[in-house]
């Protein structure tokens, strides 16, 4: 037996097996998002759907009660509301759990478990809980449950990642988080159905923050019953968790006694094991799916029957941008930053390259977002002006000593550098004569370096978590904010933002934010690119009232089916 051959074959098979078996995710089905910024989950099939009601359409069948909605989803990293930071988990959690307030499909803050509230002096909120509010097991929800839940969220042992962000305004939370206190002083139980929360300043965005899962109520008995209580959660939401086979499926059942009205559907089935969405949709295995760039041509064709099921949604509350470190050359020169802004034709890119899947961003806040300024001019495409500005900058006419620019982008999970980036680089090269090199970095490293402000120029997106301009402008541009990755600092802006935090009159408040946004844009620490997100969604015609919303809010209870 000539085992030299054997050895060769073995080793070569080894090599081949080792290399051919290397991994990659399935095709990116969503629009080319530069970075899964908010999401801890890699595969972008988890959609951030956008507004518009899916209920028009031809087929007039009989409206039915019941039915099961099926969709593709990713395995949620957690089912504990206080630990939720990503979109994949949040979308399911908002259906199973609830809090004091929630957001309706029109993005208003409306009552959930609290049927009304008073706010006498801006700092004190008195919530009146519904008398008929119950957990899934029938136990009534009381103010004590809320106090316990908030304290559990702020308990250092719970290790909730973003509790500082969402509950930090409440008096006493900071101490609790540090472990210096056993309770939160600012949360008081007045009686079984009355809860008082005191915050440190009259911040009008506080209520919006309460809509996020960190502030949801949990049943103490349920949580303390076992380490894995979240497998059998006792929530307050429109759906109950019926079945959860990790990696395979997650099934929600209707909660008959939901206080805001029970859902129409019987069940919702989330398929977690993966698959090719378009194919599954065409085979009627799932009822809805986002349509990515690759499939768009197919679906936009009017002769394709799928075209009738296509829904276009307004842009999500997410802004993709290029950030520049304003303390590092060449970006320490304002004119350079402005020149870069003027030298890109965003309309052309959005239309020709991204097939209209994104809306060019004029400013920072996306359309329909509270505080959005429709009169904002932003930077138009003006290569002449751009060149002039560049000449006026400290680098002068022939760009002497213009340093190399490296644009870092997150490059793993198989997300290649977006096509839009390549076009932008080319536009800068042609219009300004500036060479920019792209450097991809693996996501975890990217995040770490971003936080440490190591990048000269970077590309990322920011997704709004609650509908208030503070979530954007304050967090990203206040000089003391830890999320300010560009190092931007402008005293006037800081003052405007600080005033807006505590301004109670909404119109005045938004005026302040408008002003701040204008100044920020003029200072150009960013090149705002797109309001991105899923624009196209296919929904089966017999599925009605599936709202495509810009934020993650509970909405499955409105969905109903009609007879095919």
């Amino acid at each position: 037996m000539n085992w030299k051959i054997v050895l060769v074959v073995i080793v070569s098979v080894l090599l081949l097996a080792a290399c051919s078996s290397r991994a990659r995710p399935s095709a990116r089905e969503a629009a080319p998002q530069p970075t899964p910024a908010q999401v801890a989950t890699p595969l972008p099939t988890a959609t951030t759907p956008s507004e518009s009601r899916v209920s028009d359409g031809k087929a007039s069948g009989q409206r039915t009660e019941g039915g099961t909605l099926v969709r593709l989803w990713n395995d949620p990293p957690t089912m504990d509301p206080h630990l939720t930071t990503d979109a994949t988990s949040a979308a399911i959690i908002v259906e199973v759990f609830g809090g004091l307030v929630t957001i309706d499909p029109n993005l208003n803050i409306v009552p959930d478990l609290a049927e009304s509230w008073d706010n006498p002096d801006g700092k004190t909120y008195i919530f009146h809980l519904r008398k008929d509010a119950k957990f899934h097991n029938g136990k009534p929800v009381t103010a004590q449950d809320f106090k316990w839940s908030l304290e559990r969220a702020a308990n250092p042992v719970t290790a909730a990642p973003i509790v500082d962000q969402y509950l930090g305004d409440i008096v006493g939370v900071k101490e609790r988080i540090k472990g210096d206190a056993n309770e939160i002083k600012g949360v008081r139980v007045i009686d079984d159905h009355t809860l008082q929360i005191t915050i440190d300043a009259p911040k009008s965005y506080f209520l919006a923050k309460l809509t996020y899962p960190t502030a949801f109520v949990l049943d103490r008995q349920n949580v303390e019953s076992s380490r894995r209580w979240f497998r059998e959660p006792n929530g307050t939401g429109p759906f109950k968790l019926a079945e959860y086979v990790p990696g395979e499926r997650l099934v929600l059942n209707r909660n008959e006694s939901y206080h805001l009205g029970p859902p129409h559907l019987d069940k919702v089935n989330f398929i977690l094991s993966g698959g090719t969405a378009m194919l599954m949709y065409e085979n009627d295995e799932i009822h809805l799916t986002g349509v990515g760039l690759a499939d768009l041509d197919l679906v936009l064709d009017p002769t394709n029957p799928l075209n009738a099921e296509l829904n276009k949604a307004p842009p999500a509350f997410s802004t993709d941008y290029i950030g520049m470190n304003v303390n590092e050359p060449p970006f320490d020169d304002l004119k350079v930053r402005q020149a870069l802004n003027f030298a890109i034709d965003k309309q052309a890119i959005s239309r020709d390259v991204l097939a209209g899947l994104v809306i060019p961003a004029k400013g920072i806040l996306p359309p329909k977002f509270p505080g959005y300024n429709p009169n904002l001019e932003g930077y138009t495409y003006d290569p002449e002006k751009a060149r002039r500005l560049l000449r006026e900058s400290k680098y002068g006419e022939n760009l002497a000593n213009f340093p190399t620019i490296i644009l870092t982008t997150s490059g793993s999970f198989g997300s290649s550098v977006g096509l839009d980036m390549e076009v932008i680089l080319e536009m800068w090269r042609q219009n300004l004569g500036i060479e920019v090199e792209i450097q991809q970095t693996e996501f975890a490293t990217y995040l770490q370096d971003l936080v440490k402000r190591r990048f000269q120029m970077f590309e990322i997106g920011w997704i709004a978590d609650y509908p208030d301009p503070e979530n954007y402008l304050d967090l990203l541009f206040h000089s003391k904010s830890t999320n300010n990755h560009t190092g931007y600092s402008n005293q006037e802006v800081d003052q405007l933002l600080e005033k807006a935090r505590v301004e109670t009159q909404e119109t005045v408040r938004y005026e302040l934010y408008h002003k701040a946004e204008e100044i920020i844009l003029a200072d150009a620490p960013w090149v705002p690119l797109w309001y991105s997100g899923e624009q196209y969604v296919l929904v089966k015609p017999y599925v009605r009232d599936y709202f495509l919303t810009q934020l993650i809010i509970p909405k499955l209870r409105f969905v109903y089916m009609i007879e095919k």
Partner: protein, 321 residues
């Protein structure tokens, strides 16, 4: 004196030099092997001469003419930004050339051969130690190391090379991704030597028993001499085969590295990026040319390497036929 005697004795045996020339002659006669060699050479030349043989600039964007199928002006069609695919593929081949060369030059090969020789010849404790250490590396999840090295070591090396570029005026080293690949394969060398070492060791073990080695020892030839002159050439044949297959997998590895964001950066083309960007059902249905041409190219190349390895194997081991 001993050397001359050795040479006299061994020349007539089917070992050492005559094995070589016989094998080479056999290889040259095999049509298949030669065809593969020709294909590989053509691809490599294309890659190296890319700036001169391509019809367009690889970054010539034409947004309105995007995603066109094959035509006279664009034999392979255009991509999503209207760039000529044929041009990008040829430049992509340049990257492949770099990466395959990097995989050899960075020493996993030499390390493997060296350690294999030592391990097989001296046996006992040294052998055990080397093999056991090798097992550790083999069992290790190397993706982690690649990510780590790419994140920590690479930026510093890149800075250093940029400094070098500025000082000497040579441009584009970093841009070609050479630094990335050298760093990555250098790191992987710590792991890739194992396969080669085991193979070589096996060969050595086999050859060691042979009579002419015993004879050389009896004649008093030094260990080093024995290793270099007698053992090494016999070992070389499967090694060459393995190298050929290894180049194939290095070419395939480019896809993985691109996925990790390591290596050539856009807008410089790379076959790996073209493949995994378009490797989906949707693309196959709507614009198959976006996927088929790059996949076809890399497949042909890998296939040629594999088939060449096969042919080499047959040439060196006629008993197998």
């Amino acid at each position: 004196m001993a050397a001359k005697q050795e040479r006299a004795i061994f020349k007539s045996e089917a070992g050492g030099n005559s094995l070589w020339s016989q094998s080479l002659r056999r290889l040259l006669r095999k049509k298949v092997g030669m065809a593969c060699l020709v294909v590989i050479v053509i691809f490599y030349l294309g890659g190296i001469l890319a700036p001169w043989v391509t019809p367009y600039d690889y970054n010539e964007q034409n947004l309105s003419g995007a995603k066109q199928g094959p035509s006279l002006s664009h034999p392979f069609g255009t991509d999503r930004l209207g760039r000529d695919i044929l041009t990008r593929i040829i430049f992509g081949l340049r990257t492949t050339v770099i990466i395959t060369v990097a995989s050899i030059v960075t020493g996993g090969l030499f390390l493997g051969i060296g350690l294999g020789l030592i391990s097989g010849y001296f046996g006992k404790l040294i052998d055990s130690v080397i093999m056991r250490v090798g097992e550790i590396f083999l069992a290790f999840p190397d993706i982690l190391l690649v990510i780590l090295i790419a994140a920590t070591l690479r930026p510093r090396v890149v800075e250093w090379v940029r400094g070098f570029e500025a000082a000497t005026g040579i441009e584009g080293i970093v841009r070609l991704g050479i630094v990335d690949y050298v760093v990555v394969f250098g790191a992987l060398a710590a792991f890739s030597w194992v396969g080669m070492a085991r193979l070589v060791r096996g060969q050595v073990l086999y050859v060691r028993q042979s009579q002419y080695i015993e004879a050389a020892q009896v004649l008093g030839a030094s260990t080093r001499r024995i290793l270099l002159v007698h053992v090494f050439p016999n070992v070389l044949s499967p090694v060459i085969v393995l190298v050929s297959m290894g180049m194939a997998s290095a070419a395939g590895a480019e896809i993985v590295l691109s996925w990790l964001g390591i290596g050539i950066q856009p807008p410089t083309p790379s076959l790996g990026v073209m493949i995994f960007e378009n490797g989906s059902l949707s693309v196959l249905r709507t614009d198959p040319h976006l996927l088929l041409f790059p996949v076809g190219t890399i497949s042909v190349l890998i296939f040629a390497f594999n088939l060449l390895g096969d042919a080499l194997n047959d040439a060196f081991n006629p008993r197998a036929r």
